[in-house]
């Protein structure tokens, strides 16, 4: 008898903890995979979501794509983010479920507003949304970007987004960051966060390639998805608001400094060199509190046989490019390099650290860049 009671109690406990109820049936759930967030000209929040269809008979009523797409699109406009979410819950014929969201897209327009940090906080507070979602800041309309997201090579959209991002990160053209990184860094005391930069116009790739032609970094490689969407470069935030855009060459250098990429390609005098990081990049901040000096040391090896002259040219070109990148960030008072974390270690309390005003100190800091390049090939 006791065993029966114990078994019944255990089953009851197990069932309740697993949260089994009719409302959790897969057929009742509208799993959002992509969410675009934008602000209209009259100040309303516009949310656009993409959810997978259950059957072919289902159709979207928010201005979706063609009927052949296995994904539905819904778009709403409301006075606030919370109201927009409420409106979506009414509009979508199933239970809105944000727990499987893969990608959040914010337009450049909304990310540049001073109240964007509050919006990021509200997104993070949305129940069940907080699940390693990727984050893009895009040119133009976030809704249009979201609507164009589709699976065109036969895989599921969720798998395709992961594959697309992973490939771009491996190439080093975009930062390895997700929505939570931006959320944490916007609310913490350390370095400024970066998000992925995206655009839809293929002409942007040509424009990117025409910039800074004297730079040794590849700028023509923008990462195009099968849906003809592009990822290239990084958006840097200051205090939770978009402050600076880095192109893909600058993003490669930033990733190299942050140890997020292992190899880069450098073009000098018509020749391309494949360089691999020999050690983890070393960062340091000098101990002078009033006029700190920030230092970055990078060691690279070239897979091909190179002469001392070529090595010196690579070192000089990369040093100049990194210096230009640091100075560009200093002029915008953003520190995406991680120097803030090092400098914060010199203080005992957050109050002292806040009073120190790192952004202003970093803007005036003297940068010192050291790049070592040598050949790994046996002569």
């Amino acid at each position: 008898m006791r065993g029966c009671i114990a078994a019944a109690v255990l089953v009851a406990v197990g069932m309740s903890l697993s949260a089994c109820s009719p409302s959790m049936e897969v057929e009742n759930q509208a799993y959002v995979l992509v969410m675009g967030i934008d602000r209209t000209e009259n100040g309303e929040i516009e949310l656009t979501i993409r959810i997978p269809k259950i059957g072919q008979s289902e159709s979207s009523n928010g201005g979706g794509k063609d009927e052949a797409s296995p994904y539905l699109t819904y778009a709403v406009r409301a006075g606030s983010y919370a109201r927009a979410i409420d409106a979506l819950q009414v509009m979508v014929p199933r239970e809105l479920n944000l727990s499987h969201i893969k990608l959040i897209i914010a337009s450049e327009r909304i990310a540049g507003r001073s109240d964007f940090r509050e919006l990021v906080d509200q997104i993070a507070e949305t129940p069940h949304l907080y699940n390693t979602a990727r984050f893009i800041v895009c040119e133009g309309s976030a809704g249009d970007y979201a609507k164009r997201m589709d699976s065109v090579i036969g895989t599921r959209l969720s798998a395709e987004i992961d594959a697309w991002f992973d490939h771009c990160i491996q190439q080093g053209f975009i930062p390895d960051s997700c929505f939570a990184d931006v959320y944490y860094a916007s609310n913490s005391l350390y370095s400024d966060p970066t998000a992925v930069w995206g655009f839809m116009d293929s002409g942007e790739a040509d424009r990117a390639a025409s910039l800074n032609l004297d730079s040794p970094m590849r700028r023509d490689a923008v990462m195009e998805s099968p849906s003809q969407l592009f990822l290239s470069g990084a958006a840097v935030f200051r205090g939770g608001t978009l402050a600076l855009r880095l192109d893909n060459g600058e993003t490669q250098l930033l990733n190299l400094a942050l140890n997020q990429t292992r190899s880069i390609s450098v073009a000098l005098a018509g020749k391309s060199y494949e360089l691999t990081r020999a050690h983890r990049s070393k960062k340091s901040v000098s101990s002078e509190k009033n006029n700190p000096r920030v230092e970055l040391e990078i060691s690279l090896t070239c897979e091909d046989q190179i002469t001392n002259g070529q090595a010196s040219a690579i070192e000089a070109a990369l040093t100049d490019s990194l210096l230009a990148l640091v100075r560009k960030c200093q002029s915008s008072k953003v520190d995406p390099f991680g120097f803030a974390e090092l400098a914060a270690g010199r203080f005992l309390t957050t109050g002292e650290w806040i009073d120190y005003n790192w952004r202003s100190r970093f803007a005036q800091a003297e940068p010192r860049i050291v790049v070592h390049a040598k050949s790994s090939a046996v002569p």
Binding site: V9, P127, Y130, A180, Y190, F347, G351
Partner: protein
């Protein structure tokens, strides 16, 4: 039915419960988790050592009145602790159930589990904690290995966080939890133990303090504290703990096992301590009646919203001072003497 627990299971149960309570209290249950919580856990454990050491003197020299008063204090603390833990379990279940289930239904499994645990008696709870200790270490190792690339040790700095005042305030809260959970050891069976007993609870306190500090430091290296001090929702705090927004989803499974396992051992320890003390204060009550009474009271408190009230937060802040003051007064009145002398 007599509620009792042997020394070894009591020490293990207290250890598991102390670590879980301090970790929850300084992270997920904290509206605005601050920096340097790990430091507060260590200082809290150190602060509680003299009080736990004095517990023996209270039992021996305090007399029946002092003993009963102190039992009442630990009973109240254990009961509210059980209610807080039940509310945490219900919130966690609500998180998974998309908040579509009534709070009473969410609370029911925790209440049933608590009643069943208490009626299995203290040794079952204690030996379960011994098994849990091994499983916990294994799961934690898996989580740390898989999350290793995401840890950011630099987020532990500035080392003192908001300053000594915040560290001290959190340390006093942690010390209060160490002292009240230590009650299961002190009042087990008929109370009053020799030197080896006191050493065991001090060891439990030290180990659980180290575990709680480690867990808090690992958590802080994954999710930095917010300088704004903004009040975060309980759901976001749990999200930040389980998924972190940065680590892969498959890591949720060991994290969820760790989370629920820790909470249920905490609930079992605090609930059993409350029931055992209730029986000691009213010896005519059967153990099952005490278990039922504690389960009902804890459930009612959890449903009432008292567990999230400012009054409870205020009481928790002063429970260490109350425990320490009580022990000091009784020990001073009885004269400082060792148990061996007594």
């Amino acid at each position: 039915m007599k509620l009792r627990v042997s020394p070894k299971p009591a020490a293990f149960s207290a250890c598991a419960a102390m670590a879980a309570r301090v970790f929850c209290g300084l992270s997920v249950d904290c509206v605005s988790p601050g920096y340097a919580a790990w430091l507060s856990a260590i200082i809290g454990a150190a602060l509680s050592v003299p009080v736990l050491w004095m517990y023996g003197h209270v039992s021996v020299v305090g007399g029946r009145t002092a003993r009963t008063a102190f039992q009442g204090f630990i009973l109240a603390a254990s009961l509210t602790g059980s209610a807080v833990t039940m509310a945490d379990i219900a919130h966690s279940a609500g998180y998974l159930a998309l908040d579509r289930v009534a709070p009473a239904v969410l609370l029911l499994p925790a209440a049933l589990a608590l009643f069943w645990c208490i009626t299995r008696n203290g040794d079952s709870i204690g030996y379960a904690a011994m098994i849990w200790a091994r499983l916990f270490a294994l799961l934690l190792l898996i989580v740390v290995i898989l999350q290793f690339p995401y840890y950011r040790p630099e987020w532990l700095r500035p080392i003192l966080g908001s300053g000594w005042s915040t560290v001290a305030r959190n340390a006093v809260r942690a010390a209060g939890w160490f002292c009240t959970i230590g009650g299961i050891w002190i009042f087990r069976e008929d109370g009053g133990e020799g030197r080896s007993g006191k050493n065991a609870i001090l060891l439990s306190c030290a180990v659980s303090g180290a575990i709680a500090a480690l867990l808090l430091a690992l958590h802080a290296m994954l999710a930095p504290a917010f300088y704004s001090g903004a009040a975060l929702s309980w759901q976001l705090r749990l999200d930040a703990l389980l998924t972190n927004g940065r680590t892969p989803l498959y890591l949720q499974m060991p994290m969820i096992i760790l989370w629920y396992g820790g909470l249920f051992h905490l609930l079992g320890c605090e609930g059993f301590a409350a029931a055992m003390l209730l029986q000691q204060m009213a010896p005519r009550l059967d153990g099952r009646v005490c278990a039922g009474a504690v389960t009902l009271c804890a459930s009612a408190l959890a449903l009432s919203g008292f567990t999230g009230s400012r009054l409870l937060a205020l009481l928790i802040r002063y429970q260490y001072i109350a425990a320490a003051g009580f022990c000091a007064i009784v020990a001073a009145r009885g004269g400082l003497q060792t148990c061996a002398d007594a």
